[in-house]
Symmetry: C2
Subunit: 334 residues, 2 copies
């Protein structure tokens, strides 16, 4: 790949910083880096390859001469600025939900539908974190046995809600340990030593009672897998974990796969690591997945309630494969 | 009810102490209380109705003259001592898993199958905590629409593993906050800021890949509901919560129930409180359910992946409705 001018929009956020990390770690051919952020980050700088680079305030003309822009700056920002970037010939890989369901925007997980980047018109969307790790595992099973229905319950880490949310979890945890009342600013209820069945923490619910996070898992799965017939129901839950989303996934298929066959299929799947030796207490864990780019799967069982279904436990780093790592993988395909 | 001589076996444990609490709170007609425990608790005492009562070491003849014995002393102890108690005319309400699937032992959740106590032969089993809170909600739905299949994922509190487990979670939490490595004695992996898809923490897995906790949910549900045709699959997960089990439950039925109909049915169900106003961020939470005897249900939705299914979020206090409270309710039926 030739050297590229790369912008990172939202460079000072949790995912933005991970993007810089991943660009370094994967030796992405960066000719020059342009860290962009909002007014609030004016005067800040980021470190990239040992060099301190001042953050520029993003404007509509920030993208002139930029080849690739990785966006992790929220839906509103992305909705406004991405078209200006695209108009200037820059390819945007956007981590927000702003463009994901746009029929002219490919929604890409490289291991699943990397070929879809071919039809981009300047913007490529990075899927929701919970969806990415699920489809990386579902795709090879779908190819092998044709998935008809998925019932997923998530155990989502607090870093998915940003740095202030992590700070709040730690502050609440300290309060509870000290016998004090936890204080809530970000979350609607205490997240310390609790589970909250609502993601995101504000404006979450649609008329059908599902949250927007749950509907992302329903709709993005179909688009990424390129199969509208896959039916999905999801219950997304925030748990007091720093980083690493876990998912309990029940998968119904047309053709029966034994647990051994599923393990075999998944052990050959790109980006997937099978961790499944429960007798030795080996199964995926959030604390082990944190910091890794792969998706881990274990607790693979034939569902005893259904003639042709599997139960799976899927874990991945929500900031890496769920965001920054997947975005850089997309950029590598360009 | 006439005054009863009541023994509590395992009186110094987390559930045993809750049993004493519940006997007090519900004004159970206790003529005299006999707290029993193992050699390890020799010399300890418990407080009941303001009185300090020394704990007696349990022997095979401890139950002479005792009317009702509430057991929460582990499966082995129960297997050995309960028959001696029954032989002496005492009725045992046992919280362990030792007798639950015995065809001569009723497995009772008063709101669901209270009539089953009629056929006891001296021992009545208290179901698994995760199962109790689920069936309290499933039974009215089954009566209304006939349940065919249940897919459940649990978010189980650490107090279900005992006091040492709670201490370990807090010690690990303090370690992580101090930037130190968490130390594991009780749990196979850190539980602080993590989710562990294995319950119980030792000897958990059967040949089919399910844990014993998961198989309890499968088998006990059928026995309590009195319907072997209900198919259940479960994934049971320990989360860093002190008290209050949460469950994400998908319920397939023969007849379609709308969310409104399900809410209506559940609002009339004994022992159930519907907390379901998601727009106002009202849904069941472990930290709210802790200390309450009821089971809370919310996030009631029509499953968009299935023509006739519901998604539910069910929360209850695992030490109360999941153990002590249910046991005392059974004793009240006697």
């Amino acid at each position: 790949m030739s050297q590229k001018v790369v912008a990172v929009a939202g460079a000072t956020g949790m995912v933005g910083r991970q993007m810089l990390h991943v660009l370094e770690e994967r030796n992405f051919p960066v000719k020059s880096l342009k860290p962009l952020a909002s007014e609030r980050s004016k005067g800040k700088s980021v470190t990239f390859r040992g060099e301190e680079i001042p953050v520029e305030v993003m404007t509509e003309s920030s993208f002139k001469g930029v080849d690739i822009a990785l966006f992790s700056a929220g839906g509103g920002t992305s909705k406004h600025f991405a078209p200006y970037a695209a108009k200037d010939g820059c390819v945007v890989v956007d981590n927000s939900s702003a463009w994901r369901m746009d029929p002219n925007v490919p929604l890409v997980v490289p291991e699943v539908n990397g070929a879809d980047i071919a039809w981009h018109e300047g913007i490529i969307a990075n899927p929701n974190c919970s969806t990415i790790q699920m489809v990386v595992v579902l795709k090879p099973l779908h190819d092998a046995a044709t998935i008809t229905r998925v019932v997923v319950s998530t155990y989502q880490a607090v870093s998915g809600a940003g740095k202030a949310a992590v700070d709040e979890m730690y502050a609440q945890t300290r309060a509870v340990l000290a016998g004090e009342e936890p204080v809530c600013h970000i979350f609607p209820h205490p997240i310390a030593f609790n589970c909250i069945p609502q993601i995101p923490q504000s404006n979450a619910f649609g008329d059908n009672g599902y949250t927007s996070e749950e509907m992302k898992m329903v709709n993005e799965t179909k688009k990424i897998m390129g199969d509208d017939s896959i039916r999905v129901t999801a219950t997304t839950v925030r748990v007091p974990v720093h980083t690493g989303h876990s998912e309990s996934v029940n998968v119904e298929t047309v053709n029966k796969l034994t647990a051994a066959q599923a393990r075999e299929v998944l052990s050959r799947a790109p980006g997937v690591i099978v961790e499944d030796d429960p007798g030795a207490q080996v199964y995926p864990l959030a604390v082990h997945a944190a910091g890794r780019g792969e998706t881990f799967v274990g607790r693979i069982r034939e569902d005893i309630s259904h003639p042709s279904a599997l139960d799976l436990w899927i874990v991945s780093d929500n900031l890496l494969k769920g965001a920054a790592y997947n975005a850089v993988q997309i950029a590598e395909l360009l």
